[in-house]
């Protein structure tokens, strides 16, 4: 999961990678590091902020205040902007430096480009080296990549690379990227920080888990996963179809198919029926989140039960629906697999209005009818 820039830079600072002087602003702009110029940057956990208007260069304090006021409370690429980073603008030559886990080689990929900047991903100027997941191997790979850099700052870039490598290895990151890295004889500075953490390692990464827990609204999906033990991602707060589904791939495919039919899914969900252990609590939680959205028109339950006993699941679903006073929309259940016939009987008795089917096409047709989408 991608951290916001301010958190990424806090990690950089802790390992000695220089970043521009700056403050995180959530309300009024406090004292600023100097008289300008400044860069005002929306703190949302998504790439491509610059092109989307989330990064603004401001010459004076009033300009910076206006930029902050314009950003706070608005949305950028689907994320609410809760804070801005106001930094002293840095000028100078730009470089690109990144280290990431390389899945195919079970190692690291070290990347460097003598041209930094926002268009780097589309350019082919990035050179890469694969190496073993050890700081010494990264140093060697990077030395090779920066061999043509001027003497004036080559050692500084190497030192930053070394710090970046130890950060990635110690914090078990998937990616640590600096773009742009400003280079100058007087000092090199990380203009941005793109850090992707591994949520599966949080149980042994106290600094990172505290960082995520400190921003429960910015990292809502991650916080939910860490506290609840299953996946729920809100896709569209104005969505119409709430999904209670199991399996990441099947849930994604269902979202794709619903969207292609003109319906608006509210959420992604991998509820993991195997972990419910006879309690409807998890189903009640998900129904609570789903029904909190006024745009909701229907709930679609889709469970492919390889191992789960659908008879038992049906009992839990009936209990959860009954225990959800906020649920005022139709529920359509597509249940297939082990003991599907039992499930159908149990739900027909408990909730006669619910469509229960083994056929996904039938369930989707009912959803189409409810939301008025063209089939």
């Amino acid at each position: 999961m991608l951290l916001i820039e301010a958190d990424g830079k806090a990690l950089f600072t802790a390992v000695g990678i220089p970043v521009p002087a700056g403050v995180v602003v959530t309300d009024v702009v406090p004292a600023l590091p100097n008289d300008g110029p400044f860069v005002v940057k929306a703190q949302v956990p998504v790439g491509g902020r610059g092109k989307a208007g989330g990064v603004v260069l401001c010459n004076t304090r009033p300009e910076a205040e206006a930029a902050v006021a314009g950003m706070l409370g608005s949305r950028l690429k689907g994320h609410a902007i809760e804070s801005c980073l106001v930094e002293a603008a840095v000028a100078g030559a730009e470089r690109y430096l990144a280290i990431m886990v390389d899945p195919a080689s079970y190692g690291l990929r070290v990347m460097f480009s003598a041209a930094g900047g926002v268009a780097i991903e589309q350019s082919d100027s990035v050179e890469a080296r694969l190496c073993a997941p050890h700081p010494g191997a990264v140093t060697e790979a990077l030395n090779d990549l920066i061999a043509n850099e001027p003497e004036a700052w080559r050692a500084q870039v190497a030192a930053i690379g070394k710090a970046l490598a130890s950060l990635l290895l110690e914090k078990e990151l998937a990616l640590a990227e600096i773009n742009p890295l400003f280079v100058a004889e007087s000092g090199c500075v990380a203009g941005d920080a793109k850090v992707v953490v591994d949520l599966n390692a949080m149980y042994r990464q106290p600094v990172l888990s505290a960082m995520i827990a400190a921003r429960p609204t910015v990292y809502a999906d991650a916080c939910r996963k860490l506290t609840e033990g299953f996946d729920y991602v809100e896709l569209d707060p104005e969505g119409e179809i709430g999904l209670v589904t199991t399996g990441a791939g099947l849930s994604m495919m269902l979202i794709d198919e619903l969207t292609a039919r003109g319906a608006k899914p509210l959420n992604f969900c991998d509820i993991r029926t195997g972990q419910m252990r006879g309690s409807p609590a998890r189903l009640i939680r998900v129904l609570e989140w789903i029904t909190a959205r006024p745009s909701l028109k229907a709930v679609l339950v889709n469970i492919f039960a390889g191992i789960t006993d659908l008879g038992e699941f049906a009992g839990l679903l009936a209990a959860a629906v009954t225990a959800s006073p906020g649920l005022h929309v139709p529920v359509v259940a597509r249940l297939v697999g082990r003991n599907a016939a039992d499930a159908k009987r149990i739900l027909a008795a408990a909730l006669p209005d619910m469509l229960v089917t083994e056929d996904l096409a039938e369930a989707l047709a009912r959803i189409d009818a409810i939301v008025g989408a063209a089939p």
């Binding site: 689907g78 390692a201 794709d256 992604f268 991998d270 082990r338």
Partner: protein
């Protein structure tokens, strides 16, 4: 190793006295898998799911001659379980845990490669040769012997595909869940030669997901090896949210990297057929393999 799996391949279950271990060992045996034993840290355990329980993999391998293992270990213990299995000489290890830390997966991958073994997982329901054996918990309702090789990142999405294939009378030759993690054991591209060399396999179904570059790698391998058998693909996550893992740790889109467009383009250029929905995939297979229905 995957291509030669059969009902005689001796398999152990690591963690066989746990809730998951015991129930899945029983289900695997019922399917026909030659489960010859299991391991447990419980000192008092001598038997579980009808097979002997050993204190370590080394002992289990010595006593039973097992060559494959299904590790029913939680994510934080998966690395240790793999080390134990490799030290005992296990040649095929399936790790089912969801949520293995990324950097543990790197360690596992390097150790497996050094040992010359094969790793399937993590975050996988396992693999199966329908009608012969299954290592893991692929649901029986989806399994049926037939002409199609399946490889999938997602368990449930492949269940849906397998189930619908069986409903139109088609089955599978070899089915491998490669798992939804970014760093994993066997990858799509590694399986192409397995399916190409397998006489039962007449076509290959790739069930992909956004994130990572495995589908692109597979496209490249398909071109390089020569398209010896048809490759059909369906890829989930067209509407995935950027920057957030969609359930699977590996299903993470950043900018243009790992998108459905990139995967579809590369696979199509390599000669694979990419379908926009499961329905379309099944309809096509039903027509294409109409003489292979059973």
């Amino acid at each position: 190793m995957i291509g030669t799996l059969s009902r005689t391949t001796p398999v152990i279950v690591q963690g066989i006295t746990g809730r998951m271990g015991r129930s899945h060992a029983t289900l695997m045996r019922a399917y026909g898998t030659n489960i010859v034993g299991g391991t447990s840290s419980r000192k008092d355990a001598t038997e579980a799911a009808g097979v002997p329980v050993f204190a370590s993999c080394a002992e289990a391998v010595l006593e039973t001659g097992a060559v494959a293992s299904v590790a029913m270990a939680p994510p934080e213990e998966t690395w240790a379980a793999v080390q134990e299995a490799l030290a005992a000489g296990i040649k095929l290890i399936v790790t089912v845990a969801e949520g293995v830390p990324l950097h543990d997966a790197i360690r596992i991958g390097r150790a497996v490669r050094r040992a010359g073994a094969v790793w399937v997982g993590a975050s996988t329901p396992g693999l199966a040769v329908p009608g012969q054996c299954k290592l893991g918990f692929l649901p029986n309702v989806c399994l049926r012997p037939g002409p199609l090789g399946i490889m999938s990142k997602s368990g449930t999405l492949s269940y849906e595909v397998g189930y619908r294939l069986t409903r139109v009378g088609l089955g599978q030759s070899i089915w491998v869940g490669v798992g939804g993690d970014a760093v994993k054991g066997v990858r799509f591209a590694d399986l192409l030669p397995v399916f190409f060399d397998d006489k039962r396999t007449k076509g290959i179904i790739l069930v992909g997901e956004v994130g990572g570059s495995e589908e692109e790698e597979c496209a490249e391998a398909f071109l390089r090896l020569g398209p010896r058998k048809p490759l059909f693909a369906v890829i989930a996550g067209r509407e995935a949210k950027e920057g957030v893992s969609m359930g699977h740790a590996g299903a993470l889109v950043h900018g243009a990297f790992g998108t459905l467009e990139s995967k579809t383009k590369r696979l199509t250029e390599a000669g694979a057929t990419v379908f926009g929905s499961i329905d379309a995939l099944i309809d096509h297979c039903a027509r294409y393999y109409r003489f292979d229905r059973r």
